[in-house]
Symmetry: none
Subunit: 213 residues, 4 copies
């Protein structure tokens, strides 16, 4: 019944297995409603084993969030600094890349979890704001400013524009995870098409082009 996996091998894999199990359950039922035994069971170990790796459910939660937030913003930032062409194209690429990395995978649901539990884990919320939210906003905001300076963009208010670029994708994520079963919008509106539409709309506007000069 038991496959012969060396003990050390198993031990090395345990922390990640526990974090994965925790992530799945936290997003499914929330932190408070998830019993620590469930996490252990889903990770294939007994209740007590969890506590060999994390000293408490709270600490497990924090580790899970931190571990999944190593989406290195810095990487994208460096990439953006080197880029020379039109900002619109860069934004398009970056958001698509973000969705590919975050939208579907673990990092995405961590956004939901983080939002839900922010009040309960203030230090973690601060960490998230400082390490994820602020850098992301700074990155996108910088690009908008570059676009405005180069004359590519209108002189729009930067902060609001950043929000307008980020919010729809994030909200889609949250919505899907919460109401996906009841509101099957992504069947008729896939993420890719939504992105296309969003960028197109944001870039060109909703209004029909003025007919004359």
């Amino acid at each position: 019944m038991t496959t012969t996996v060396p003990r050390q091998r198993r031990k090395d894999a345990r922390p990640q297995e526990l974090l994965d199990a925790a992530l799945a359950l936290f997003v499914e039922k929330g932190f408070a409603a998830t019993r620590s035994e469930e996490i252990a069971t889903r990770a294939g170990v007994a209740k007590g084993t969890l506590y060999r790796y994390y000293p408490s459910k709270d600490e497990l939660f924090k580790a899970m969030v931190r571990e999944n937030l190593s989406i290195h913003i810095a990487e994208s930032a460096a990439q953006a600094a080197q880029y020379a062409g039109p900002i619109a194209g860069l934004l398009n690429e970056m958001m698509r890349a973000w969705w590919a990395k975050v939208g579907d995978g673990n990092a995405g649901v961590v956004c939901k979890i983080m939002m839900i539990e922010a009040r309960h884990f203030p230090e973690l919320a601060r960490f998230y704001v400082d390490e994820v939210i602020q850098p992301s906003k700074a990155l996108i905001g910088g690009l908008i400013e570059r676009g405005i300076r180069s004359g590519e963009f209108r002189a729009v208010p930067v902060e609001a524009t950043v929000h307008l670029l980020i919010a729809p994708m994030l909200h889609l994520l949250l919505h899907e995870h919460s109401f996906g079963e009841h509101d099957v919008c992504h069947q008729t509106m896939g993420a890719a098409e939504l992105l296309d539409a969003q960028l197109s709309l944001l870039l060109h506007g909703l209004l029909a082009e003025p007919q004359g000069t």
Copy 2:
């Protein structure tokens, strides 16, 4: 000692007082982390009294959500049907009205609560989708279609556009409630200005107008 409120008056007000207390606590700490005694205390009654009005914490939760979601979409819909001018103006007005009604008040935080607890209260989630989300989308979607037919709008994909109109406001709401302490964006970007910027951007686009022909 106690201010002299007629007994009957108090009793009639109880259910609403309990729901209000519950709302405040649920948004502050989440459903699971809020003790039923806290709700009672905040409503100015004893623990046992709560159970005279609602048979369980779950039912109290459902009542609280349902009660606060009687934002009558129908009303706005009727108003929209009569409206004759340019759709852009109507959208502008409607969203401003929505924010005034929902953004600051109880209904707004119920959106957050509903999103958080959707998996735990499936029937309630379905109710919310059917009674709030779908009608709202239908209303806005209908207006977009009208605008397209009348030539006021470009032939944009309707569903994505609706999402693009709704998501930023909703997300601002959630963000503020979760990270308001750590990410004080609304100090530099008030809701009103954000709305202005959003509508302007969505209507006219981010790109600078093509200079020549």
Copy 3:
């Protein structure tokens, strides 16, 4: 089955009932080996009820000790100050009184419990030392000194003499509670006789009187 005791009456009696149950169990099995549910059961209530009165097992323990240590040393001290006759007689009376109050009852076993758990409850140990041990020693020590000054006693070292007066009684207490079942010394040597013998011995010494002048 249930006798109709008014609820309020029961509530008022609860703390004392719980402390009594705790005392009995702590002396029988020690603090760590006593389960909180046992205490509750012995007090005739359910597990949860205990926590309505004491916030934790530790706090219950501390309350139990403090409650049982209201042996007012001050009382004996005042009595001693007024006394005029020979100190030997006063000591005799006081020790007999102490045994009557402490030796058999709750306060006695608290001495044992306190000794056992002193390392685990340092603040409590300090309280015990400051409020019980030191005043007791001071009281007896003062009497010895009075006796020496008046010529009634030899010029013995005070501190050691105090210890010699106290230790045998206290040790008898501890011994009985620990080994009473196995070493049935008090069947052959009752407390009263032991006290007689002790005082007689301490006062007159073990050695036979020198025969001549």
Copy 4:
């Protein structure tokens, strides 16, 4: 890295090292509050190793007590039988020897541990009573009787006198171990001086010699 102790040497020493570690921890924190892993760690081995030498924590405890109680009373008894001079001097020597052997070292704290855990380990308590307490009492009691018969001592009650000789020293031991930090009596009253004072007092009595006939 490790100092080069022959493997066999280490292995032979293990049981004693474990017992020493256990003794130190049991006296410091009590039996229940000492984790078996702590014992192993302090003995320089891993948790599992402990169980190669002792089948359970209970058995380890019993072994530790038994091992440390091999204060061979018999030895002193033989010595006493041969002794010819005044009993007072012999008692003096014996008690000083006892203190030197027991008072400071391991055997002393075992008295405390034994007293604390007597109810939890009844067979062990019986063993202690039979092998340590009773023989000790018999030894001292015999000497007292010899003294009385020879006219050296007054016709005191034997059992109480034995208690009076033993209790102060034992109690000093217990007291120091429990309240040493809070009640620093041995700074002003060393064990040696206490012994001097005790014997002197017990032998000669507290009262001043009657002046005249």
